[in-house]
């Protein structure tokens, strides 16, 4: 068996690459042979033989293009993932569409705070009531949970509607100590009970506010407060009910509802992770010359690596009555260093074009321009 090595030229045919991602791209077809020639010459051909075949060069070329696209689109995906996450899988290719930032993911992330504060979120709040019994101050919510059909451990009280009557209802209360009551006066004339408000005097709003505040402050200091304690499953209310007067209403959630870690997508398949962002391999012919040069250099590093592995399968190569050592370690070390440097350079380049960097640079540019414009002398208008 005689395995031919690089003869000095090649002719690319579709199907010559392992994956065939770009085989039908005419620019790729043209550049594949040029790339092979470039690599062979860079490695010393025709002064020395290159123990590779054209398909090795094509493989490196294809991988370099794919790596470039991977780095580019991975960066793009990470930059815009908050906008992509939750979008339907059918949104179409991200390669050719301009990403539009949105707050969908941010709002979804903040739903959890809305749940806790009762101003939104995705966890339902339920209402229920317990009957207040005369002279009973403490109520076991285990019974309430059973009444609601909820496991006691699954119930979390979010709101207790146990408040003092609003001060406005006692605005004309002669016992409220505000001095505005007219009822006694009307009683004196035999008109009492006809209406709670016989005579009104429109007062400035600040006056009403002060009166209401006075009523509330009076209640807070001189009277027993409407309040409660919720410890464990026991609800303790103050003041102690003086009669079987009413129901005490409660808002609660089911903890199990809150523990559901999945967002409701309405049955639509959506992008849930970075691997589903609809980027595909790049179109080689659409890559500009800056990108192509990177691809050539990265491909050359891959070719070095392949050649290093070929020459390094055996550390010593037999020749007549002796052995020689080839340059496999140099090739592999150089290839590794080149690849790392190229990837680092590419990532830095992408970072420089990130949205935040571009906006920051634009702002700096505007500041500098503004500063520069300040040096222009102001015209003095002479009429």
């Amino acid at each position: 068996m005689n395995i031919p090595i690089w003869p000095g030229s090649s002719s690319f045919q579709p199907g010559d690459t392992p994956f065939g991602f770009y085989d039908t791209d005419s620019q790729f077809q043209t550049d594949a042979d040029k790339f092979s020639q470039f690599c062979a010459l860079r490695l010393g051909y025709p002064i020395v033989d290159i123990e590779l075949q054209n398909i090795n060069f094509y493989t490196a070329f294809e991988e370099a293009v794919t790596t470039y696209g991977n780095e580019l689109f991975a960066y793009q995906a990470s930059q815009n993932f908050l906008s992509f996450q939750g979008a339907p899988l059918t949104i179409g290719s991200a390669n050719t569409n301009l990403p539009k930032p949105n707050l969908a993911s941010v709002i979804r992330l903040t739903d959890q705070y809305g749940v806790e504060t009762g101003v939104g979120g995705s966890v339902d709040w339920y209402s229920g009531s317990i009957y207040l019994t005369k002279g009973v101050q403490t109520y076991d919510l285990t019974d309430f949970a059973a009444q609601e059909g909820v496991s006691p451990g699954d119930l979390e009280i979010k709101r207790v509607f146990y408040h003092a009557p609003p001060a406005i209802t006692r605005y004309f209360d002669p016992y409220a100590g505000t001095g505005t009551g007219m009822t006694q006066l009307m009683d004196s004339f035999g008109f009492g009970g006809g209406s709670p408000a016989i005579n009104f005097m429109m007062m400035p709003l600040n006056y009403d506010l002060q009166k209401i505040q006075a009523i509330e402050l009076n209640d807070q200091i001189r009277r027993s407060q409407y309040t409660f304690e919720l410890v464990g499953n026991k609800l303790k209310i103050f003041p102690i009910p003086k009669g079987n007067v009413t129901n005490l209403w409660l808002n609660y959630i089911k903890k199990s509802d809150r523990n559901i870690p999945y967002a409701d997508t309405g049955g639509v398949d959506v992008i849930t992770n970075i691997s589903q962002v609809p980027y595909s391999n790049p179109v080689y012919s659409a890559v500009n010359s800056i990108g192509r040069q990177w691809i050539f250099e990265y491909g050359l590093a891959l070719v070095k690596e392949i050649l290093g592995y070929v020459r390094g399968k055996y550390s010593n190569i037999p020749i007549p009555d002796a052995e020689i050592t080839l340059n496999q370690s140099d090739l592999i070390a150089s290839a590794t260093a080149d690849k790392n440097a190229l990837l680092e350079r590419l990532r830095e380049y992408f970072l420089e074009t990130s949205r935040s960097e571009l906006i920051k640079r634009k702002a700096e540019e505007a500041d500098s321009l503004q500063k520069e414009l300040q040096y222009i002398p102001f015209n003095i208008f002479i009429g």
């Binding site: 068996m1 395995i3 090595i5 033989d49 123990e51 055996y314 037999p318 020749i319 007549p320 009555d321």
Partner: protein, 170 residues
Amino acid sequence: MALFGGERDISLFRNLNKELLGDIITQQCVYYKLKLEETLTNMYGESAGAKYYYDPVILNALIQRPEQEYTTDEILGVDFNWGADFKFFRDDLVTANIITEVGDIIMYLDGYYEVDSVVSNQYFSGKNPQYPYNENPLNPGLEKFGSSISIICKTHYTPADKVQITKERI
């Protein structure tokens, strides 16, 4: 079946050796294969009269030639010895269709060297694919592994007139 030293690996060695010997080192010699059927021999098996050779072939080789030796014998006087080892890549000889044997002549730098012995004992991974011992029930397919790398001809210098290839004396 073995794991290392398969035909592809050997093909790589072949390429490397041909590049090394043919393009980089480029030591060359001319091999004269003795034409035994036309060379007459005496009763002792020595050549009698003219020697005949096949057409010469230029070969690449690694050539190791030590310094000349001048030995002195009390009866015969001063003698001259100059040995040389010619290390051929075996595939080159296969391509040239040459089987090296004792008595063949190698010309190197206008000197003639007669082959004293032929050593063919350098096998990659210790295997010679010509001896796979087929059908080998334990390791079938060994004819595709290993390689006989070299053929080394150990020679001694011989005067040109004895070789009778070129006209040295009137």
